[in-house]
């Protein structure tokens, strides 16, 4: 379908964009557009206004300071081409390589993926596994939201309608941290039927504070505290991995659809957990 009519505003600055959001209740932010525009073409989204933030220079920042800063408009390709960020967070180029397609990777943004919170997307789980947080700006001021507090439900985050995600911030992992992303893609859409993002810090050969995030199998990126518990204190050997795999689905509300019922999805979850932990 053609999208329904809307007014278009190309924002010159974040303040300009925020003023539009405050003045127009049904306005939506347009970034890379590769989730929003397909939804508008199916009329699942019918905003009365689009505020295009694609040309705001401040939002393109991509740098390593005390932490890793990824601006809202940094595209997937720009992120994986950033040598320092890619080497500090190898799970990022790994996940980006298996998401979408060339054109999605060229225009889609990390900020957009996190704000859109598609339950079958890859990067929200990777972001949460890395214990990242987002900086959001509203006309009332700025605040940060930690990954564990961000995802509320399918396509729903705790970002307010008149706030803009301006930056993703990821702490630099301590040295020796193991990380990997494994995914079973839907053969038609490429989205994650199940994806597992594992970030496993290790000190003196022993795991501590592991973060195992599941996507595709749940309504939002969800930690498997059972798998994390099986790994913490272990030496991440075959036995520890087997234990984590055995319990990864415990406590998770695994969903079902025509491609995969609960049993099959849970099985895929165990397989992807094993692959992620073995390749981390």
């Amino acid at each position: 379908m053609f999208p329904s009519s809307f007014a278009y505003h190309r924002a010159a600055s974040v303040a300009d964009a925020l003023a539009q959001l405050d003045a127009n209740e049904d306005a939506k932010i347009l970034a890379g557009g590769h989730s929003l525009i397909p939804a508008m073409k199916l009329r699942l989204a019918m905003p009365s206004m689009l505020v295009d933030i694609g040309r705001i220079p401040d939002l393109k920042s991509l740098y390593v300071g005390d932490e890793i800063h990824i601006g809202a408009m940094a595209t997937y390709n720009e992120i994986r081409d950033h040598e320092e960020i890619a080497s500090l967070l190898p799970i990022l180029p790994q996940a980006i390589a298996v998401l979408g397609d060339q054109q999605v990777r060229a225009r889609g943004t990390f900020g957009g993926a996190v704000a859109h919170a598609d339950p079958a997307a890859d990067l929200p789980a990777v972001f949460a596994a890395l214990n990242g947080r987002v900086r959001v700006q509203g006309s009332a001021g700025e605040r940060e939201i930690a990954a564990d507090d961000l995802f509320v439900d399918l396509w729903t985050t705790s970002i307010e309608p008149n706030e803009i995600l301006t930056e993703v911030i990821i702490p630099i992992p301590e040295s020796g941290t193991r990380m990997a992303y494994a995914k079973h893609p839907h053969p038609a859409s490429g989205y994650a039927v199940v994806g597992v993002a594992a970030v496993v810090p290790m000190r003196d050969g022993t795991v501590h504070d592991a973060r195992i995030l599941v996507t595709g199998a749940t309504s939002k990126p969800t930690r498997s505290t059972a798998a994390e518990g099986a790994l913490n204190g272990s030496v991440l050997d075959a036995d520890a991995i087997a234990q984590a795999v055995a319990v990864v689905a415990e406590g998770l509300d695994v969903n079902a659809d025509t491609y995969a019922n609960v049993d099959f999805r849970s099985h895929l979850l165990r397989v992807m957990t094993k692959r992620a932990l073995e390749s981390a």
Binding site: P3, A7, D101, Q102, Q103, G190
Partner: protein, 169 residues
Amino acid sequence: MSGAEQDTTQRITMTVNGEVRSADVEPRTLLVHFLRDQLGLTGTHVGCDTSQCGACVVNVDGITTKSCTMFAIQCDGASVQTIEGLAKNGAYHPMQEGFWEEHGLQCGYCTPGMIMSSIALLERNPNPTEEEIRHGLEGNICRCTGYQNIVRAVQYAARKMQEEPVSAD
């Protein structure tokens, strides 16, 4: 405030295949429809409504883009290259030559997007393996060929372009 109201059109200007073009569009006009219906550049095709098939792939400001997943108004001030802009002075781009020599098409519907995507692929990776070619073209669906000759066409172009680099537009 700047920007168009709902239901009203706005004048946009962009460079398409090196030529400055202006027209009035509604904000909701997709770039692919602008190119095809308003500029008469029908080489870019519409093959789906879910942004999956890649028949509409063009190049916007140097970025490979599904023109069905961008609004024309977003491209106000941009530089767009379509399949019609590849051949120079009657000489085919090596990728077009590859698709001809290796018969990388049957019905031709996916072909313009397939060629544009393949060029983008070689820009990032000038010497791809077969697996990298197949992975890189996951955003372009072909219902006719089974992809084998498409892969051969891209390999042909990769060899040719390494011998004789194509100058940037």
